[in-house]
Symmetry: C2
Subunit: 83 residues, 2 copies
């Protein structure tokens, strides 16, 4: 079965996110004032071939743990659906 996974990797809440701060300041300068707490991370989409959803989740989990996120400064979440 083919599954489609969407992974979000975000800077940990406890950390300052300078990229987000820069975008927020720029938005305010552009006149978009009512925006706060901008945080910027990565959005990763991938296709997984697996016999069931649990196995697909295990593959995505391994990819997140071992490659996609840096545990010192990022957290991740994902969702999986049938492609």
């Amino acid at each position: 079965m083919k599954y489609k996974a969407e992974v979000n990797v975000m800077p940990l809440k406890a950390l300052l996110d300078p990229q987000g701060k820069a975008v927020e300041a720029r938005l305010h300068n552009m006149g978009v004032k009512d925006v706060r707490n901008v945080r910027i991370g990565k959005h990763i989409t991938l296709e997984v071939e697996a016999s069931d959803e649990k196995k697909a989740a295990a593959i995505v989990e391994k990819a997140c743990k071992d490659l996609l996120h840096n545990p010192i400064m990022e957290s991740y979440e994902y969702k999986i659906e049938k492609a």
Copy 2:
């Protein structure tokens, strides 16, 4: 009212995504073989202060159009919910 928006900015489907290709190759080298079509973009979360959801959407739309995405190589999508 306070709304929370989640924006995904992704490389256009028609374009090669070298970052995604690099991650895919690395996953294959690591033994995670059943993964294909990895694409990497940005995930942006922000809080919007607006009187209703339609106005919040207009603010997010403007932020996406004018700052967050590069129309030549990226597309965007977002969803908004009450914070």
